[in-house]
């Protein structure tokens, strides 16, 4: 009887019932779509951070160099004796990225020992600059030094793009000089999961094993390998030594933050005169809640260091992604809430008016002995059914809306801008871009709008709540009816 009565009554006023359900559906659907959109934006932000930062890295530690340090590398280009004139030359200089000071590797262990730190790994990022060409023959010893460096750089790396032509005193080579540079990251092969390689994905070959601390093996970025025609198994010359290429990696998410070459840390330290030193420390906290605490611990242990967390980075992100997230959080939320409130109000009004038109019907039932709460139960039941239908429709509308957003959304860009610790101009080591606050790194992400099971449950729950609320209003109205209302002459 209970369900039969509900079904028949809703069928009788099916247009109104559908309108009520639809109102709830639109309100709920909007909540679903906006929440999915906000979720998608959040995911996009995570993608940005991970590609710039490496998955799993919570904090990075670097130290900015004082201005007196660093400086242009000297290549000793001066061919002292006549015998060298006319000969080809090739020089390489490997330096830490300008603006970065190296830290003692012991600091890594110091940080790893702090409470709240799950893992700490050191890395060393270097730039290798190569100059090659031919010494020109000098016409006379007093020839005017007109250095003719038509520095055509065969730019071989995707990140370090500057080609600087070197100037040296006195007799300069007059033949064209080739200058190229590429970035080298020294990786602690004994620790996996954290470090410069963590923002990359293996595409062919393999990465280092934990025993290859001093083995002359290298992992290359796929784009660098392609440009310079390296494959797995080929040999690359670094600082006069041959390294075997064992694997190629790509960056995780369309970012520009990979090195060209990765070699074991020990070797990187050796070739750059940085034995026992690192210039970046990657830290993983035991839990997200500990990050702030760990940051302050590190700062007190290393007062001169720059400590950057993911949230610091997030604050620097600008671009269309940031606007999208603001849109989602402010406008979107208010719109959804307003629509939901309106839907609830409509449902309540329609339910109460429906009850008002059944005064004689309910009065008769009460005259037959139906208890008030039984009559209220019928009204509530009708309302809840409308809520359920509204919830299902709302999920469909919401999912469709979310899919439309994902389909039609443009590719969003996120740019990490400058921080206050801007060093002298030069290259930022890949993967540490934000900490250095040097040239802006831009990441492009495609927006998704994920609809999780919890979101669906929330949607149905909201619609049900609307149904129950409307049922309560209607039920209150019905409970006030008296059996004598059955005898009313005028309806």
């Amino acid at each position: 009887m209970f369900f039969t009565y509900i079904y028949r009554e809703l069928r009788r006023r099916h247009r109104q019932a559908l309108l009520t359900a639809l109102g709830l559906a639109v309100g709920v659907g909007l909540v679903v779509a906006v929440t999915a959109y906000a979720g998608g934006v959040g995911k996009a932000q995570d993608t940005v951070l991970h590609s710039l930062y490496g998955v799993g890295t919570d904090i990075t530690v670097t130290q900015t160099a004082k201005l007196s340090q660093g400086g242009p590398p000297s290549f000793q280009m001066n061919p002292g004796s006549q015998s060298q004139q006319g000969k080809a030359f090739s020089r390489a200089a490997i330096r830490s990225a300008p603006g970065q000071q190296s830290l003692a590797a012991t600091k890594v262990t110091q940080i790893a020992a702090l409470s709240g730190v799950k893992q700490a790994v050191g890395g060393l990022t270097l730039t290798s600059m190569n100059v090659s060409g031919k010494f020109a023959k000098a016409a006379s010893s007093g020839a005017a030094p007109g250095s003719q460096s038509s520095g055509s750089s065969s730019s071989s790396s995707t990140s370090s793009s500057s080609s600087s032509s070197t100037q040296s005193a006195a007799t300069a080579s007059q033949a064209p000089i080739n200058v190229s540079s590429f970035s080298i990251s020294g990786v602690d092969v004994t620790q996996t999961g954290l470090g410069p390689l963590s923002s990359t994905q293996l595409s062919t070959g393999r990465i280092f094993t934990s025993t290859e601390t001093t083995t002359h093996v290298a992992v290359l970025s796929q784009s660098y390998a392609k440009q310079n025609k390296y494959t797995v198994g080929s040999t690359i010359k670094i600082s006069g030594k041959k390294y075997t290429v064992i694997g190629l990696v790509t960056s995780s998410a369309g970012s520009t933050s990979t090195s060209d070459v990765y070699i074991p840390l020990h070797l990187a330290q050796a070739i750059s005169d940085n034995t026992g030193k690192v210039n970046e420390i990657y830290v993983k906290a035991t839990s997200a809640n500990d990050i702030a605490k760990v940051k302050s611990e590190i700062k007190s242990a290393l007062p001169k260091a720059t400590v950057t967390t993911a949230s610091d980075l997030a604050g620097q992100v600008s671009g269309s992604l940031k606007s999208a997230s603001q849109l989602a959080s402010t406008l979107g939320k208010w719109l959804a809430v307003a629509a939901l409130v309106a839907a609830f109000a409509v449902a309540c009004l329609l339910t109460v008016s429906a009850v008002s038109r059944r005064v004689r019907e309910f009065g008769t039932l009460k005259a037959l002995g139906w208890k008030s709460r039984r009559v209220v139960g019928q009204v509530m039941g009708e309302s809840v059914v409308q809520g359920v239908v509204g919830g299902i429709l709302g999920v469909i509308i919401g999912v469709a809306g979310a899919m439309a957003i994902a389909h039609f959304s443009p590719v969003l860009k996120a740019t990490v801008g400058q921080t206050s610790t801007a060093g002298p101009g030069g290259q930022a080591p890949p993967g540490m871009a934000a900490a250095m606050g040097q040239a802006a790194q831009t990441v492009a992400v495609h927006l998704t709008a994920p609809v999780s099971l919890q979101l669906v449950a929330l949607a149905v729950g909201l619609a049900l709540a609307g149904g129950v609320l409307a049922g309560a209003f209607g039920g209150w109205r019905a409970s006030r009816l008296r059996p004598a209302d059955a005898l009313r002459r005028v309806d």
Partner: protein
């Protein structure tokens, strides 16, 4: 005596105006009586029926039903009475428009919490008893006025109540159907020995009763006994007299 009403009044307030729908009723009704309550519009006959049917409580006075004072009973006790001891028949049939005839009869059994099968069986039996078995699965809009009232009677009777209260049961029916319905009610009354209280303005209907009560402005007129003769019933107002004479001349009811 099944009913004993003493000094029963009912006062309604509408804003600053108060209306005495019943202005002091003393009345007894015996078990098995067939009582007709007559009176013009506004005489209070519907209000009296509400009192007798435990749908409302008197403002003052005593209303004893089976030894219990209805005036002092709480709402849930009154509801209990309504669901066990009384059956109602209304002028507009008051069937639930979305339910079939059988389901409508079943609604009377819902407060009894009988199982679904038992409920359906009893409902079908009741419909049989009023000759409506073939319309069991029709909704009210598919039935004639007479059929709807039959269904309503079945609903009133399915619980085998002690008292049947009817408010203008033939008011919305044509003459021939009226005769059928009153005939049916009379027959059932004779078969089952229930107390039948009918409010009506129709003199012919009233004439079928064993007792006639007149209400005027909330007060009872002194009763005539049994079926009145052609000029025997006491007229309480000129208008009432006109009405009755007009009806009489038109219908020529069979007396005795």
């Amino acid at each position: 005596m099944l009913y004993e009403l003493t000094g029963v009044t009912k006062r309604y307030s509408r804003g600053r105006k108060t209306v005495d729908a019943l202005a002091g009723i003393d009345l007894t009704i015996g078990e098995g009586d067939f009582v007709a309550i007559q009176g013009s519009t506004g005489s209070g006959k519907t209000t009296l029926l509400q009192m007798l049917g435990a749908m409302d409580r008197p403002s003052t006075g005593e209303a004893m039903y089976d030894g219990r004072d209805l005036a002092k009973m709480g709402e849930s006790d009154l509801s209990e009475l309504r669901s066990h001891s009384y059956g109602f028949i209304f002028q507009a049939f008051n069937l639930i428009p979305t339910l079939t005839a059988q389901e409508n009869v079943e609604t009377a059994l819902v407060p009894w919490h009988v199982g679904g099968d038992e409920r359906r069986r009893r409902a079908r039996e009741a419909l049989d008893g009023v000759g409506l078995a073939d319309r069991a699965r029709h909704i009210p809009s598919e039935m004639s006025g007479g059929e709807q009232q039959r269904a309503a009677i079945a609903r009133a009777l399915v619980r085998e109540p002690r008292v049947i209260l009817a408010d203008e049961p033939t008011g919305n029916l044509d003459e021939r159907t009226r005769d059928e319905i009153i005939g049916l009610l009379e027959q059932l009354w004779r078969e089952r020995g229930q107390t039948l209280i009918v409010v009506t303005h129709d003199t012919w209907v009233a004439s079928r009763a064993s007792r006639r009560i007149w209400l005027d402005a909330g007060k009872l007129a002194p009763e005539g006994s049994g079926r009145p003769g052609p000029v025997a019933e006491p007229e309480t107002s000129a208008r009432e007299a006109d009405e009755t004479v007009t009806e009489r001349m038109a219908e020529e009811p069979a007396l005795v």
